[in-house]
């Protein structure tokens, strides 16, 4: 800090007796900052962190919060999850993982293709195209699930068209392959991939494509050698984000979820709420949260490396 007065600059100095006042003011500022943060911190500690710790302790039988939990340390829930004959829980976990993976990959592919189409063709109706492609972002999960249910249930348009046009009937909702979940999740989530990829394509330096074109590159070569390497991190991060949101979703599985094998979120609901099998409800929850956090960790890693790459 320098004091400027009457045309000459004085060297920085602290006026005698002001140092303790500055210290006091800094402390008061810090205290105010912490007080402003306190409601948020307290709220999340009590509403998220504490329940998270409690379900972990309950899954180990260390806290008999609900009836039917073992009195004392026990790995009963984990044993049943991993080693029950026929491995029904592991099977449900694998089903959930696979259905989510297929939905995330297809939604990302669809969003990517649509963004690429917009970049390459620049259609006259691009505004309408963008608005349409982003619309599902605004539709609530339960409503979107219900909307697709009206199309997919046995008397819905799609099965009726398949039946009348091709003469075959296949269940498309509450089916054993999770087709309803996949179809609905793709519609709900391709917008995420489209929005991310569209902004990525917008940010690409047009000179790169111009240079490649001048050197005689075809459209396919431009896609393969320029667009794809420069947008791969965006595609990966959208795939991870979509995977996470479908993996932890309840409404889609609630409406379209197969009766068997069950989506993991529905399995927790059935075990804990309908059957009162709290030990399994808590154990599946712990595993579910662990996997969800691991996926979000991967998502953050992809984002960080993308940021670093952009900074370079």
């Amino acid at each position: 800090m320098s004091c400027v007065g009457a045309g000459n600059t004085l060297p920085p100095r602290v006026i005698k007796g002001t140092a303790p006042m500055i210290k006091l003011s800094v402390r008061k500022d810090l205290l105010t900052d912490w007080l402003l943060l306190a409601p948020l911190t307290l709220f999340y500690v009590s509403m998220v962190i504490v329940p998270l710790i409690l379900i972990f302790l309950c899954s180990l039988g260390l806290l008999p919060l609900t009836p039917g939990l073992p009195q004392g340390f026990s790995l009963e829930g984990y044993r049943r999850f991993f080693f029950t004959s026929g491995a029904p829980y592991l099977f449900s976990f694998g089903f959930t993982f696979l259905v989510t993976l297929v939905a995330a990959l297809l939604a990302t592919l669809m969003g990517y293709t649509m963004a690429l189409f917009l970049k390459l063709r620049k259609p006259r109706w691009s505004k309408l195209f963008i608005s349409m492609a982003r619309f599902p972002l605004f539709v609530p999960y339960l409503i979107a699930s219900f909307m697709w249910w009206t199309l997919l249930y046995p008397k819905g348009y799609i099965p009726m068209i398949l039946k009348n046009a091709f003469g075959f009937f296949t269940p498309l909702t509450n089916d054993p392959y999770g087709l309803g979940i996949i179809i609905c999740a793709i519609w709900m989530k391709f917008s995420v991939a489209f929005s991310i990829m569209h902004s990525q394509f917008q940010m690409l330096d047009p000179d790169l494509e111009a240079a490649a074109r001048n050197l005689g590159a075809s459209t396919w070569q431009v896609i393969r050698k320029i667009y794809f390497p420069l947008t791969i991190y965006g595609a990966l991060s959208s795939a991870a984000a979509i995977f996470l949101s479908v993996f932890i979703a309840f409404s889609i599985a609630f409406v379209h979820g197969a009766s068997w094998p069950r989506f993991l979120s529905m399995l927790i609901y059935r075990d804990a709420v309908e059957r009162g099998d709290w030990i399994m409800g808590y154990t599946i929850s712990v595993i579910y949260v662990f996997v969800a956090f691991f996926i979000s960790f991967i998502y953050m890693k992809i984002l960080t490396s993308h940021e670093r790459r952009r900074a370079r």
Binding site: D33, L40, L137, F138
Partner: protein
């Protein structure tokens, strides 16, 4: 100039996207307005009208569900905004130890399955008397609403030059006065966007209300689930309720998008 063939291909692709996106929405609109729709005439309803709207409003539970949905959303929005404004100021303008930890804790609900939170809170709520209680539902809706609002608000705070606060402080304003006089007027687009996020989040929250509020406190999404086969099947009634949720949600989120600056979006992306 594009060839006619290319323009035709562009039009076809745009039309396909339009049909793909609009088809499910068109279905619930049709269900909501279909007064008569016989199975042998599966491709279109035979009579359209407002029968299901009138019928739904005559049921005792639907006006109640509308009341609970909208009042809970309003309370959640108000409290969420206060918390997000106070903490958004610190997280968006200050650098201190522990900041990223708090930021990460606030982001936890993005990766936290709602069903897990629901069954974790169920016994706790039951013990402290918040189960099937209006305020218990408000609290649990805030868990999901705060992160979205906070992202938008932090983005707005980050877009304000810190020199403004310094100038105000040098002129003798204390922190609260600075917040009120400097930041509040400048962060309002982020606050509006955040409020809309919180409102629509609460309006559409389903599983936590089902677990912690139902059957005493039931909102529109819970009612919709009842008509989708949980109790009995009535797609027409579910479609009417779906429109009560869909139209305000889409309209509000479009408004939010208008108010969201690129900086707020940056905040949103973390």
């Amino acid at each position: 100039m594009k060839s006619l063939r290319k323009q035709f291909v562009d039009l076809i692709v745009t039309l396909l996207v339009f049909i793909y996106v609009i088809a499910p929405v068109a279905m619930i609109i049709m269900y909501a307005f279909a007064e008569k729709w016989y199975a042998w005439h599966w491709w279109a309803p035979q009579k359209l009208g407002f029968k299901w709207f009138k019928d739904s409003m005559l049921l005792q539970e639907i006006p109640r569900a509308l009341f609970y949905s909208y009042t809970i959303a309003l309370v959640v929005t108000s409290v969420t905004l206060i918390i997000a404004f106070c903490s958004g100021y610190v997280l968006g303008t200050k650098r201190f130890r522990g900041r990223s930890l708090i930021d990460q804790i606030a982001n936890l609900p993005f990766a936290f399955p709602a069903i897990v939170l629901g069954i974790a809170l169920l016994p706790i709520y039951s013990r402290i008397g918040l189960l099937r209680n209006y305020w218990g539902v408000v609290l649990v809706h805030m868990v999901g609403a705060i992160p979205y609002t906070l992202r938008a608000v932090i983005g707005s705070f980050r877009s304000i030059p810190p020199e403004l606060e310094e100038a105000a402080r040098n002129l003798g304003a204390n922190k609260l006065k600075t917040l009120y006089k400097i930041y509040l007027p400048l962060t309002w687009p982020g606050l509006v966007a955040g409020a809309i996020f919180a409102f629509t989040w609460s309006l559409n929250e389903f599983v936590l209300t089902l677990l912690l509020g139902f059957p005493t406190i039931f909102t529109l999404p819970v009612n919709i689930s009842q008509y989708m086969g949980e109790y009995f099947l009535s797609p027409q009634r579910a479609a009417v309720l779906g429109l009560f949720l869909l139209i305000p949600t889409v309209a509000l989120l479009l408004v939010a998008e208008k108010y969201l600056t690129p900086e707020s979006m940056g905040g949103g992306l973390g």
